[in-house]
């Protein structure tokens, strides 16, 4: 018995029972033959039906569906009303369901099957407490592993969490801890979303499994060529690409590359993917590879027309370079510095994301060329201790970062007024900037809050804003 409906369950029939046993209990039992393929098709149709709720829907075989509702709940009036609507619509199709909303696919899977209620909403970070009492069966483990764990007395997820990790990994393989971490959210687990039927997804299966970097690179070139031709035919560019590798041991490796601007050039895409080869673990070999263009966007006409001009070839190369940089690990920020129309040194520059989508032409402001500016600007300005000064002059002796500096010459002041059109508090505020040189030849860019005479213009404190 693979499944039993409510009436059958009331009669004492449970899944896993032998058919003869069930027939003994209920002689007139209707038991159609299990058709796994038809069930799979039906589940896929149901998953497609779920697309009204969210664009990211994945099948959790054999009996579940994941819906990534991030950013979709407000359309239904919140999380609880969203689940109510979903349950109501499923009931009108004649389906009973158990719904669980959690931060990770693993936790939602476990709660939907083993949770106390048939509708559960887990708050952020609540996986640990909510899953602790559930049986280990909720972790999507292989049948043997689950039995082994139960034999060890690790019946609940909470017990598994408390158990030492290393011996369990040695005995059952890395899968147990990976599934646990995925459910808890310490390891990210991507779901395989349902693809639209017209997705660009060339696929190659191999006679012999492959495992070398060269072989993978060759296959990438072939797949990218196919995808690029299709992209050109549609006049679209790819923004997000997944390379899906099916391994001999039935596991799937996915590497994903993003592009800063839609692109269809085979060389560009192939180069980005080839740099990801190192992250693929072929294991005993890869038997099939598929390139899935996850997101496509139309190519802006003007952007490509400019590419035809020889002078603009540099720009195309730059987009390629930025894509490659961005797909590297470990980069936290990538930007350019650009002019901002302001007088205050810390506001004269802004960070512009790459590539610059605003398309604004930035023209340097002429007055900034006339004054000395440090190459490195302290942020925030560092306060200094002034030991000797005259009211309108720069300090003669000051302490900065624990060192005494005796001033022998100075240039200034360069007065910069607060920008009252940004902030009313800055009205009347004044900074006087000086370039001073100490006895050892070090040059500092100092400023004083206030004009040195009027209290309202500043509190006469001194700062170093940079070293020249």
């Amino acid at each position: 018995m693979a499944a039993a409906d409510r009436v059958a369950r009331a009669a004492g029939i449970v899944p896993g029972m032998a058919l003869t046993h069930a027939r003994a209990l209920v002689p007139d039992l209707s038991a159609p033959l299990l058709d796994a393929d038809a069930d799979g098709d039906a589940l896929e149709r149901l998953a497609e039906w779920c697309l009204w709720l969210s664009p990211l829907v994945a099948i959790d075989a054999p009996d579940g569906i994941w819906i990534d509702s991030t950013g979709c709940d407000h359309l239904q009036g919140g999380e609880a009303p969203m689940l109510n609507t979903l349950a109501g619509r499923l009931a009108s199709l004649g389906l009973t369901c158990r719904l669980a909303l959690a931060e990770t696919p693993g936790a939602a899977h476990a709660l939907a099957r083993y949770g106390r209620n048939d509708r559960i909403i887990l708050s952020a970070g609540g996986q640990g407490a909510a899953l602790a009492a559930l049986p280990v069966g909720g972790l999507r483990l292989a049948g043997q592993t689950e039995e082994g764990l139960q034999r060890l007395g690790l019946r609940t997820i909470g017990a598994l969490q408390a158990a030492p990790r290393a011996p369990l990994t040695r005995r059952f393989g890395a899968d147990v801890m990976r599934r646990l971490d995925q459910a808890m959210g310490t390891v990210f687990e991507p779901i395989q979303p349902l693809r639209p039927r017209d997705a660009i997804a060339p696929r190659r299966s191999f006679v012999e499994p492959i495992g070398t970097a060269e072989a993978i690179a060759t296959v990438i070139d072939v797949l990218v060529d196919d995808a690029a031709q299709e992209l050109v035919r549609r006049g679209m560019g790819a923004r997000l690409i997944d390379l899906v590798c099916d391994r001999v041991d039935a596991s799937v490796q996915v590497c994903r590359v993003g592009l800063a601007a839609p692109a269809y050039e085979a060389a560009h895409i192939a180069r980005l993917l080839r740099e990801q080869i190192e992250t693929i673990e072929p294991g005993f070999g890869i038997e099939a590879m598929q390139l899935v263009v996850v997101r496509i966007e139309p190519i802006p006409a003007d952007g490509r027309m400019r590419g035809l001009l020889a002078a603009e070839h540099g720009a195309a190369d730059l987009g390629c370079l930025i894509d490659r940089l961005r797909n590297r690990e470990g980069i936290e920020q990538i930007y350019r510095l650009a002019e901002a129309g302001s007088h205050l040194p810390e506001r004269t520059q802004v960070r512009v994301a790459l590539p610059d989508a605003s398309g604004r032409k930035r023209i340097p402001i002429a007055w900034q060329w006339s004054a000395q500016r440090p190459a490195r600007l302290f942020s925030p300005p560092e306060p200094i201790l002034v030991l000797s000064t005259l009211p309108a002059d720069p300090p003669r002796l000051f302490v900065w970062r624990g060192g005494r500096h005796r001033v022998r010459a100075a240039d200034g002041p360069e007065r910069i007024h607060g920008e009252w059109w940004h902030d009313a508090d800055e009205y009347g505020a004044v900074r006087d900037y000086w370039v001073v040189e100490d006895d050892e030849g070090g040059r500092f860019w100092l400023f004083r809050h206030g004009d040195g005479v009027h209290e309202w213009s500043g509190d006469l404190s001194w700062f170093v804003h940079g070293v020249l």
């Binding site: 590297r328 920020q333 990538i334 510095l337 002019e339 022998r408 030849g441 940079g466």
Partner: protein, 266 residues
């Protein structure tokens, strides 16, 4: 006999290829510093496709503002994209590097975690589309790590500039060994004060730097003292700077504001 000579030629070529000298000897592939004496000493300028190290000195040791300006003025001579890597908040000031002659539109700024700087630097040095990489180093680099950077630089034909900031030992301390092509220290010197009759604080004279070439692979170390003229707007005529011993130097027509428009005297 003739055959022997051909064999010898082939062997020499192979050795040169192993030693990777062919690229360095290529005279066209140099970045001019703009200081005539320095360029002459280096045989045309800083070679491309290798790694150069820079240290600050004195109160500038940890900030390294002078070496930053020096690097910016050297890179003003190059073409292509420049990547500037930092392991924390990158405090580059646009007005300052532009005053050194470098167009900020060519600089891609990257921030990462401190432990990622050498690895990322190596990765990007291998990138052929990048002309130069400048890295703010916050931790000392081992000999092996600097060798890796040097090899990556040769492989990618990219010039690397390592700017030692937090990692710089004290002024007089021993510098760690490295496999870089050159090693520089830029130090500010007290300027020559213009004559002033009043007793108040005198005005500044032109900046004076001592540029020390501490180490050079296959070459001599040297030291130069030079005057950096006050920054002039591009539409001003470049003025002939006065040398310390009073004679006039020939007026140089470089891009105004570059460090190199000053006169150098050894």
């Amino acid at each position: 006999m003739n055959q022997h000579r051909e064999t010898m030629e082939l062997l020499r070529e192979q050795i040169a290829r192993i030693e990777r000298r062919s690229k360095i000897s290529d005279a066209a592939r140099h970045l001019r510093t703009g200081l005539a004496d320095v360029d002459r000493h280096l045989g045309g300028g800083l070679p491309c496709g290798v790694v150069h190290e820079f240290y600050g000195a004195g109160s500038d040791l940890r900030v390294a503002a002078k070496p930053s300006r020096f690097i910016a003025s050297i890179l003003a001579d190059s073409e292509g994209q420049i990547v500037w890597i930092s392991g924390r908040y990158l405090d580059l000031h646009l007005a300052g590097i532009r005053a050194a002659g470098l167009d900020a539109g060519r600089v891609i700024c990257i921030e990462t975690r401190p432990e990622n700087v050498p690895g990322l630097c190596e990765d990007i040095l291998r990138e052929r589309a990048v002309a130069a990489v400048v890295a703010d180093m916050d931790a000392p680099l081992s000999l092996t790590a600097s060798r890796r950077l040097q090899l990556a630089s040769e492989a990618g034909d990219t010039t690397g500039f390592l700017l030692h900031r937090e990692s710089a030992p004290s002024d007089t301390g021993r510098l760690p060994p490295s496999a870089c092509q050159t090693r520089w220290r830029v130090r500010g010197e007290p300027c020559v004060l213009p004559f002033s009759a009043s007793l108040s604080l005198p005005a500044l004279g032109p900046e004076r730097w001592t540029i020390e070439l501490l180490r050079q692979r296959g070459g001599r170390s040297a030291s130069w003292s030079c005057e950096i003229p006050p920054y002039v707007t591009p539409h001003h005529l470049p003025l002939a700077p006065v040398l310390a011993h009073g004679s006039m130097a020939p007026a140089q027509s470089g891009p105004a504001g570059r460090v190199g428009t000053g006169a150098a005297y050894a």
